[in-house]
């Protein structure tokens, strides 16, 4: 019987395993993950799970894996792949033969340069265990310092404020969210954080982080020192590529795959946060995404292609972030924008539409309370996929239904 081994039991690996069954794969499926939990959703880790101390929100419960005939090995690391003999070696001393392999090893937090691993008061946030540890340290009078004004740092700041902690966030660049978020949108986020009492310091480099029994300290290059009870470093993530690299797979800012999610080695596919891939709607340029829906979509696509479908990646990047009662959603990639059009909606919500030199819609970034921008961002995503060149005047007018522009 044919055997597919999936390495990495996160969002992407779990979705792929179920999708294989839904598409009628009748061979063996083994899903191997080094974390102790069944695959769970990471987005709540900086949001509700941190706020309320929830248990991990499982992608699926144990019974459904059993029902689908998916063998899940938790707490087990794949230590090596032999692509010639088609065997993977596991940390529990056993090995598995495979016919096809799917790598969904995800990413891990980028470590702060020069910092050794063994810290208690200087942490990162990626796993359920991280959330538990950070939550335990956050009391109403705790001073939390966050390094990095990206999504995870900002979501953590918002949740920590809700828990009553004092928050100072330090970003080395001149503004927060400088990667992929337009300044107008980032300003709304920054203003909201300030209104909620979080301190945001931008444009200052960090010289050193240190900790002792009583606390942790940030020394800034301008001479200032920030004392905190806990420091969380959120300066991006690095893809988990070492296993693939050792097996001889081509690495290029992630495990390099083609438009079908195939790696450079036969019968090995990769998907999700760990891989870089050509993005069709953007001239085939190679990107790596760290986004939840991408992990799902690629999990489904990998399953189809493991079964020989030969389908190409077609989805448009899409991301959301929740901070306080604000939700930000972004579809597409905005670099290459030559014209930006603003659409103002009820209650201060707005969307920026980004057009390229040819008038084609390439991205849309929206922010508002609740789901104010969701429907229009979703329609924008469909317009991007369809290569629509929308009338800028119509885009700006909130009373124009975007659905009508999609059909045009």
């Amino acid at each position: 019987m044919s055997h597919i081994v999936i390495i990495g039991a996160g969002e992407c690996g779990a979705r792929a395993a179920f999708a294989l069954r839904e598409k009628g794969f009748d061979g063996r499926i083994t899903l191997v993950g080094e974390e102790e939990h069944l695959p769970y959703e990471r987005p709540p880790l900086s949001k509700d799970a941190l706020l309320h101390g929830h248990a991990p929100k499982l992608v699926s419960d144990a019974a459904r894996y059993a029902e689908a005939g998916i063998a899940v090995l938790t707490g087990v690391t794949v230590e090596s792949i032999d692509p010639t003999a088609k065997i993977v070696q596991l940390s529990n001393g056993t090995s598995r033969d495979y016919d096809q392999l799917l790598l969904t090893t995800g990413a891990r937090p980028r470590p702060f340069p020069g910092l050794s691993g063994a810290n208690h008061r200087i942490r990162t946030l990626r796993t359920h265990g991280d959330t538990v540890a950070i939550r335990a340290a956050l009391q109403p009078d705790t001073h939390l310092a966050i390094i990095g004004g990206g999504f995870i740092g900002l979501e953590l700041a918002a949740t920590a404020r809700k828990l009553g902690a004092q928050v100072t966030l330090v970003e080395g660049l001149p503004r927060i969210l400088s990667r992929g978020v337009p300044e107008e949108v980032a300003t709304v986020v920054a203003d909201r954080h300030k209104a909620e009492g979080a301190e945001i310091i931008c444009g200052v480099k960090i010289q050193e982080l240190s900790e002792d029994r009583d606390g942790a300290r940030i020394r800034l290059e301008d001479g200032r020192t920030i004392a905190a009870d806990l420091i969380v470093v959120g300066i991006g993530a690095v893809p988990n590529v070492e296993l693939a690299q050792d097996a001889g797979l081509v690495i290029d800012n992630g495990i390099a795959v083609d438009e079908h999610l195939r790696t450079s080695v036969p019968d090995i596919f990769a998907a999700g946060d760990c891989c870089s891939f050509p993005l069709r709607h953007y001239g085939g340029r190679r990107v790596r995404l760290e986004a939840w829906r991408n992990a799902q979509d690629q999990g489904l696509l990998a399953a189809a292609n493991l079964m020989g479908a030969g389908e190409a990646i077609a989805s448009v990047p899409w991301f959301w972030s929740d901070q306080y009662d604000l939700t930000l959603q972004i579809a597409g990639l905005a670099d290459g924008t030559t014209q930006t059009i603003r659409r103002d909606m009820a209650d201060g919500a707005f969307i920026l539409f980004h057009l390229d030199a040819g008038g084609r819609l390439i991205a849309a970034s929206g922010i508002g309370t609740g789901n104010a921008v969701a429907r229009d961002i979703r329609l924008a995503e469909m317009m991007i996929a369809a290569g629509v060149r929308p009338d800028p005047v119509a885009l700006a007018a909130a009373e124009t239904k975007l659905k009508s522009l999609l059909a045009a």
Binding site: V59, S60, R64, R293, W320, N371, R375
Partner: protein
């Protein structure tokens, strides 16, 4: 015994669209399909209790505004990740230019 409750006039819902309807502490989503039929489901997504009336209707699908979970609003069937629990549906009738749902 059915308990028909009036939701709104038929022209208050656009074709291929959805509105929110609240009644006696419960919340619903009421749909008008592209072929001009009316349907009703529970209002909240089975993934994280987000209201579906902010979502997008495409053919017979309602897509949740939060994480794009999809349901058939005609049958309530969950159509794949991240939703796996079906939505409850309710009978609907149109009479004298108004939409009614049955909450019995």
């Amino acid at each position: 015994m059915s308990n028909w409750v009036e939701v709104c006039a038929t022209d208050e819902i656009d074709e291929e669209d959805v509105i929110r309807f609240d009644h006696e502490g419960k919340t619903f989503a009421v749909y008008r399909s592209p072929d001009d039929e009316f349907f009703a489901t529970d209002g909240l997504c089975t993934h994280e209790k987000i209201h579906l009336a902010d979502g997008l209707v495409m053919d017979d699908i309602i897509e949740c505004p939060k994480h794009n979970g999809r349901f058939s609003y005609k049958t309530g069937e969950a159509k794949g990740a991240p939703v796996c629990v079906n939505l409850r549906t309710y009978p609907v009738k149109v009479e004298a230019g108004s939409v009614f749902i049955s909450l019995a």
